[in-house]
Symmetry: C2
DNA sequence: ATAATGTATATAGATTTAGTAGACTTTATT
DNA sequence: AATAAAGTCTACTAAATCTATATACATTAT
């Protein structure tokens, strides 16, 4: 399961994606629109900024904005930045690999092999889906509801 | 990420799967072969037994065994029994559904839509893969190493 | 009778997560 | 220059969860 931190990060990027090209948006506004605790969101946005995804502007009229086009930011990046696990086993994680202590032979572990397949399937989706895609999906869902 | 409980449960079922049709196998033996803390494994096997996956036999010569053929036990069942999350968001979980508190409209949430796709991909693999398949995969991995 | 095994419940320690607090810095506006 | 509106940074705490251990008990084979 993703942490709330990761969930909030994605949602914040989506709302900032919708705002791309406009004036920066305030933490307070994002927090209240997405119902995210403000102080918690502050930390998250700071992380995303330090990772180079967001720019920030201090002082009155300040706020946050995306550094690049939402079509160039992929969901998988957000998971990795916020420490959200992609793999279901540490031994199949690309970026947070850890040996399973109990495992006698990783190379022949059938369990690992299954979860390698799962990880690949997950990774494919998340690395092909951009923030812009997420926004597009919202549009489609809305259209479908109206029909 | 799966809990160790889930990981150990799958590994225990795999070793019991290899032993299917033989005399029951002792907790102690499973624990030492798979390097799982014995007392922890006791609880896990008990859960799997109470869920109807294993039978047990007390006393000397006792132990645990699979109730049904390893080809009829699917990895997805084990995750569900041991509380391992399949979905990455609570709002896309079939068996442990929970609304995302912060979400204004689940029906049009693009983030949810993406993770619904991820869940479906994961679920497909895990519900098509049996304990027998895991054992088969180990065989293939071993063969490939030898070549 | 004894030893080998599983059953059941409680509890403790460690880790992680989620959220809060508070003091500080920068910038626009008046 | 003063003030208010923002973001920055670090520390802390509360709660939950996970992992593991302890202990007493029940059953069965020999």
């Amino acid at each position: 399961m993703l942490s709330k931190k990761t969930r909030y990060a994605i949602k914040a990027l989506v709302i900032l994606g919708k705002n791309f090209g406009e004036a920066p948006m305030q933490i307070q506004k994002i927090a209240s629109e997405e119902h995210i605790p403000k102080k918690f969101l502050e930390q998250i946005l700071l992380d995303l900024r330090n990772a180079g995804l967001l720019y920030s502007k201090k002082g009155a009229g300040g706020g946050y904005g995306l550094v690049k086009d939402p079509a160039e930011i992929f969901v998988v990046q957000v998971l990795r930045l916020t420490g959200g696990p992609i793999a279901l086993l540490p031994c199949v994680s690309l970026n947070f690999y850890q040996r399973c202590e109990e495992c006698s032979n990783e190379a022949t572990c059938g369990v690992r092999d299954v979860f390698l397949e799962v990880r690949n399937a997950t990774l494919k989706i998340l690395s092909e889906t951009s923030i812009a895609d997420v926004i597009r999906r919202e549009g489609h869902l809305l259209d479908n509801l109206k029909v």
